[in-house]
Amino acid sequence: MNWILLLEQTLNGFQFGILLFLLAAGLTLIFGIMDLINLAHGSLYMMGAYFAATFTEWTDSFLLGALLALPACMLFGVILERIALKTLYTRSHLDQVLATFGLILFFNEFVRLIWGPIGLDIPLPELLSGSVELFFGIRYPAFRLVIIAVGILVAFLLYLLVSKTRIGMLIRAGASNRQMVSALGVNINLLYTIVFGLGAALAGLAGMMAAPIMTVEIGMGEGILIITFVVIVIGGVGSIKGAFVAALIVGFIDTVGRSFLPDILGLFVSNDVADTAAPAISSMLIYILMALILAIKPQGLFPPKGT
């Protein structure tokens, strides 16, 4: 066993997990508090990337671009919530799935109309575009380290927000008992809008973090959206802690599976079969994990209390 490789893959899994957490945190909050299944969360991720790309081009700086894109995403989310999603809160999950699926189609074409079909790129500053040497001679891409750092910072801020502030208290209360919060005379509409804006900003942040590694393109949020749903379901809907733990587990399993399964499978079957089967099986792992967890704990790892 190559320990350096294992360590590097662990870092990769951690980085992917952090990215998933940024998406999952917003999704699970929106879900837990407004009881809204928002498939268009992936579109917010995409918008984050496009905003960042555009602003980076204007300002010639990724940092400035990202700082501008963050409030833009939040504003975008708030407008979306006010115009389209507000009416869906009282609807069945089925209606929500369909309507927000319609929004995905719309946003994809909307982006194509405005930014064109080819996609954009975010050039990184010189400092972040290479790799740095960590302990034990591990070299790791500098920007992926930034993602990890930002993710941990956001997780910490979210923790502070949720556990130490008044808004956080309402969020926690809303996640476990919605009726109670509105009965207390809280301006529930305002709370919803704030939460949605926060979720949108987090999704946008994930998008702009992913953008320089991958490219900014139409439909970039769809593949990752499904995995994000897996994360929040494993973690328990409405639980930020659950989202964090589940995101790291899923990120780790996905990366390690992709990395080592071909070799492990190669021990049992011919190499050609292993080459084809391994990527498929590694993609399957997280779904198997989810089915297993739900079979044992039908409400996920950390179900919010009081529902």
């Binding site: 490789l5 992917f16 575009s129 790799s131 991958m214 490219t215 393109e217 992709r258 391994a278």
Partner: protein, 390 residues
């Protein structure tokens, strides 16, 4: 006066009957126009339109009608669109096809159902070998060929240990088989990634770093190539392990990759600076029209239209004369952007393959330039499995 009217009338009638005689050539073009790969389809469409402009929008005396269809990168959709083109639009030629799996899914809906099928890019082994057909032609190459040429190049460079990465679909598998056919060193690692879903290659790049190969060879068409190059450089591997590719860097990704790809080596049957009259005209006019260098996808699409034109003019616009058109196409008697070439018994070109390098042109644009010829008049290895002879 009366005579004049009569004269005009009869002249008009004559003209009408002339037009009626020359049936409009209907050409279906199945490509990817939406989604991340939509840029490739756009490029191909631009090239087709340019070819038609060069022909004066006519093939001989016949008008031409194009039917562009979007396969959305999915085999099932490509098949559906092909079926529509054949059954509903009753096209005479069905062409385009970027992706091998889309082509394989669509083949049975076109071949033997009336029209000629001409692939403008995809070249899976099966259609060049066992499944070759008198109504099927290619204006590109067979998938294995380009990477076979790369294998030779790697041998010449003295590479002993090679790491290969490619997407896990039919063309990806062919490309890997191609390079393994000719590469004499050892392949110490191979990763087939999920296509098109996987865009983050961090896990695979870590494996490459740990495996310490002499060189890395990849096949990642379209946007995947762009991302692979980016991540390869971000991982700090660019200066450590040389990276060779096929169909991964193209004129669509170069303006976005810029210095990341400068000096990168690849093999191909064509390059924008290939020295022949047809190519010079094509590249110059394409750049004038679109402001970009054409991709190889565009070049092959241009040739597709020229090949069809050679067939239609050979039979004087009589589109029912399929034997005549087939014989004309077999001669490859048209000014190809790759220079003169011959068709093999399986209707795939026997052609040269070159080593290309990413350079900056005089105006500072990124493009590719030919370094040397790797293969001269190379025929694909599947031709011998093709029972057809003529």
């Amino acid at each position: 006066m009366r005579l004049g009217i009569l004269g005009t009338l009869s002249l008009a009638l004559m003209l009408i009957s002339q037009v009626a005689l020359a049936e409009t050539v209907r050409i279906g073009f199945v490509t990817t126009l939406t989604g991340g790969a939509g840029a490739i389809g756009n490029d191909m469409r631009d090239a087709v339109e340019l070819a038609l402009d060069h022909l004066g929008r006519k093939m001989g005396d016949s008008d031409v009608k194009m039917f562009y269809e979007d396969d959305t990168f999915k085999p099932a959709v490509g098949k559906q669109k092909t079926e529509k083109l054949v059954k509903k639009d009753k096209v005479h030629f069905v062409t385009g096809y970027i992706w091998s799996h889309v082509l394989m899914a669509s083949r049975n809906s076109a071949v033997g159902k009336g029209p000629f099928m001409i692939t403008s890019n995809a070249g899976p082994g099966a259609v060049a070998g066992k499944l070759c057909h008198e109504d099927f032609f290619s204006t590109s190459w067979q998938n294995d060929q380009t990477t076979m040429a790369m294998g030779e190049v790697l041998n010449q460079l003295g590479i002993k240990n090679l790491y290969i990465m490619a997407p896990n679909y039919s063309a990806g598998k062919s490309m890997v088989i191609g390079v393994s056919r000719t590469f004499k060193g050892k392949i110490i690692g191979k990763d087939m990634t999920k296509f098109p879903a996987q865009l983050d290659f961090s896990a695979e790049l870590a494996k490459i770093r740990a495996a310490k190969p002499d060189a890395v060879f990849v096949f990642y068409p379209g946007k995947h190539g762009l991302q692979f190059f980016k991540q390869y450089s971000q991982a700090g591997l660019k200066d450590e392990i040389p990276l060779y590719s096929a169909f991964t860097v193209d004129s669509l990704s170069l303006p976005r990759l810029k210095d990341l790809a400068l000096g990168s080596l690849m093999t191909q049957f064509w390059a924008p600076d290939l020295d022949n009259a047809a190519n010079k005209r094509f590249v110059a006019d394409y750049r004038k029209k679109t402001g970009r260098y054409p991709t190889f996808y565009a070049a092959q699409s241009y040739d597709t239209i020229m090949l069809i034109n050679s067939a239609v003019t050979a039979v004087g616009g009589d589109l029912s004369n399929k034997d005549g058109m087939r014989n004309a196409m077999r001669k490859a008697n048209f000014p190809s952007i790759r220079g003169p070439f011959k068709y093999g018994n399986n209707h795939f070109p026997i052609q040269n393959f070159y080593l290309r390098k990413v350079v900056k042109d005089a105006e500072g644009n990124y493009t590719t330039s030919i370094v040397k010829t790797v293969y001269t008049n190379h025929q694909d290895p599947y031709a011998k499995d093709c029972k057809m002879s003529w």
